[in-house]
Symmetry: C2
Subunit: 162 residues, 2 copies
């Protein structure tokens, strides 16, 4: 029940860290930089790509670069019986970048991005119109204090097991 996700090992982590800056460095460079055989790195990279441990590459694109300078969290309450309908509806809205179900009072918490406050309002409307959604509350993000990062966690792991 813990998870069926592929678990990175020490070598994976080292490779990924080395890949952090430029994901397109030649395998040979990686190999010699890490002191591994080329074949090893090659195999690992392939395995990683098929492991399901990575998001699609587009996840790296900052919404701002797509002209979406405004972000917000939208919490939604819904008619629980129509959960799946609601989710299907939300999935149709490109501006909904993410959606999670948190413990507690709100049923769904969405991350949304828009071109400007006006556009944000439009998106909120669209969300509100999803079947099963009874109420939403939008809270704009004023500042990105720590932009999403995983590097630190990866580094910590590297130190961990040794």
């Amino acid at each position: 029940m813990t998870s069926d996700t592929y678990q990175l090992d020490e070598t994976d982590r080292r490779i990924l860290l080395a890949l952090d800056a430029d994901p397109r460095v030649p395998i040979m460079m990686l190999a010699q930089q890490l002191g591994l055989a080329r074949g090893t790195v090659q195999t690992r990279l392939e395995r990683l790509a098929n492991s399901g441990a990575l998001r699609p590459n587009t996840a790296r694109i900052l919404p701002a670069a797509m002209g979406r300078g405004v972000s917000a969290f939208v919490s939604a309450e819904l008619d629980q019986a129509r959960l799946n309908e609601a989710i299907a509806g939300l999935r149709q809205i490109p501006e909904v970048l993410e959606c999670v179900a948190p413990a507690g009072d709100t049923d769904l918490l969405l991350r949304v991005s828009a071109t400007d406050p006006d556009d944000l309002y439009r998106v909120s409307e669209e969300i509100r119109l999803c079947p099963g959604i009874t109420r939403t509350s939008t809270s704009m993000i004023l500042r990105d204090v720590i932009p999403y990062r995983t590097t630190e966690l990866l580094k910590k792991l590297s130190g961990d097991k040794h």
Copy 2:
């Protein structure tokens, strides 16, 4: 004031979409697949890499693959005068994947990941101990309804301007 972020153009978008599955496909394949000259794609990729429009590659790694199967949002209230101190403290905690300042009642909203509920508790403690932080409230994520995605937004843009 809108932003000084590099704005992707149509070609960038097409390249990024083509790169979505495998970010390491040879430039030549990309070029012929997109009907562009090799030099063009090569130049674009270089520009993209330096544009600041992309997160580091490690952002693609799912926390679950690092043994962090538990995620949560932590909202924190703080002594506004010590904001910077607090941020500095939070930055030190690898499990804090992200931190934003939302409009509204909560001062900071953190995204946190942990190995298990126990570990989550430990991380919460650590957050609470950051200088300037007066109160926190943790809400575990029960389900990832829509995992973070940007692809749909990118696709939308592609259609937009034509």
